[in-house]
Symmetry: C2
Amino acid sequence: MTNDAFGACPTPLGRYDRIVLGHGSGGTLSAALVKEIFLAAFDDPTLAALEDQATLAPPPAGHRLAVTTDAFVVSPAEFPGGDIGVLAVAGTVNDLVVGGARPRYLTASFILEEGTPIDLVRRITASMASTSRHAGVAVVAGDTKVVERGKGDGIFVSTTGVGFVPPGRDLSASRARPGDRVLVSGTLGDHGIAIMCAREGLELETTLQSDVAPLGSLVEAMLEASPNIRCMRDPTRGGLASALTEIAEASRVGAKLDEAPIPLKREVRAACEVLGLDPLYVACEGRLVAIVPPEDADATLRAMRAHELGRDAAIVGTIVDTHAGRVSMRAAVGGERFVMRLSGEQLPRIC
Amino acid sequence: MTNDAFGACPTPLGRYDRIVLGHGSGGTLSAALVKEIFLAAFDDPTLAALEDQATLAPPPAGHRLAVTTDAFVVSPAEFPGGDIGVLAVAGTVNDLVVGGARPRYLTASFILEEGTPIDLVRRITASMASTSRHAGVAVVAGDTKVVERGKGDGIFVSTTGVGFVPPGRDLSASRARPGDRVLVSGTLGDHGIAIMCAREGLELETTLQSDVAPLGSLVEAMLEASPNIRCMRDPTRGGLASALTEIAEASRVGAKLDEAPIPLKREVRAACEVLGLDPLYVACEGRLVAIVPPEDADATLRAMRAHELGRDAAIVGTIVDTHAGRVSMRAAVGGERFVMRLSGEQLPRIC
């Protein structure tokens, strides 16, 4: 796009401090938004060519393609430890890396509500750009739509990630086997509780930050320590309980958790008590659960703890050949109970 | 996912006729929505595996990767000739095929408003599934979020398309050269006017249908007739005027349109007069504009007219070495004017 498109005014976006319907028109205002915010932040030559599609290098020989997509509607859009932009990039990257893929490309589409401050769009785009660079992915395609006031809520982001899976990697939720150990990479529920506190104006002793982070380098370190890891999941919506139930269902095995070693921040434990929440269901956005053959569990744990994103990693359970498709937990105070899948809604719009 | 997850009730979704927040929770209700609607309609083994990412065959040797993304917020979600589901698939497929890519995979993420009828979600998903099958793409990954009543508007869909570009194809908006001819594949503005009429309750003499359609087979026929086509675009938001301006800017050339041969339905012409719209700016969703070397123009036109999606194709202009980055039009009644890029918003939420 040449500057001619904008006539004499050097920054046509500068005349607006809030999103108007014209920013989604496909005309001059759309072009200004794209150029002054998105192209400037993402700084990618493929994106800047503004073709209808990004044409990209294919995977190296022997690699498979991995694709994942997510919509993000978190409220509030900015929260302690992150914003919807970091969340979109990290969430999408993490869905790739837990499958053993190396993330390469990202697409982003925005649904903006009329009246949304342009500075908010700018800050969130900057977060996406820096998180993408940190995670080693290029934002190669995008789209923006604007809806009337009251037909959206500020900013929604949908991201799709494309990654390449190196030969020999075969991680799948269907590969858990009795005897395997269940590892988590850090404290549970920080993201969900940080959002709840921000939303409800709840004050904790300290400011709890979301754990949101892209986990590619942690996963690579884990796979180097133990190429036989059966599968990984990031326990987002629905928390550890849902992630583990999905694995138990897909592998037709049971999972037994031990409550005592499950890492929990003191503030999260306290907030869960006040709010009547079970931390097993609260979302993380920078943690993973891994199912690891018993002989590899210690090496994997050491590799996790040596990485800054896995310092609080712990072995929290075992895969068993009883109660297929279900998760049980031995309480710290004794006794065992089934951990049911979340049935209704616990924390709306947590991601 | 096994049936155990749903206990005794055979269709947990059956207890609901409208979307509730729990359908976006990541728990039992989410699983029911995914299984009973999305997996049933899209019927893809990769999607049905419910991993966090789809692992897929890479492009054949020598092919490049093509990726595109779009958010769809069209209102109303169902309109004469299509719905937001057809639109999402066709729009995304078309962004791939105009670059010469063969579409292969699609991802879909949904943002649903609490209270949206589940039957609407079901109909739209069925449309997406049948349009995908028709276009030869597999829906391999998806996501669903639910927002509170008044924070969305029924159903928003974001789709990302992944395609493979065969060796030797090099279509780009920067390749237009003076002397090239400008071809359109059919009547302009049918989609935009069909939406406007549906929205405003405007009655035309006949029921105008949206032109929405995936254009892969038309593009393959055109490239077979003329492998030297410089570039193609689908004139969606902003219409032919914006698509051609983007090409003129990217190629640093001018474009001269002739008004007389531009194909327009009588109803579209009439509605544009009543509504004060210029058909050059009205969106199509099943048309393309192609820039073709002069010696290939007739063969390309014949190939287009022989295809059911190109029956009304016409040569409507020429690329020139004057007024770089701009489009002019010679009116049917004589005289020439510049066709400016759309500046504000003409038809909000047309796609």
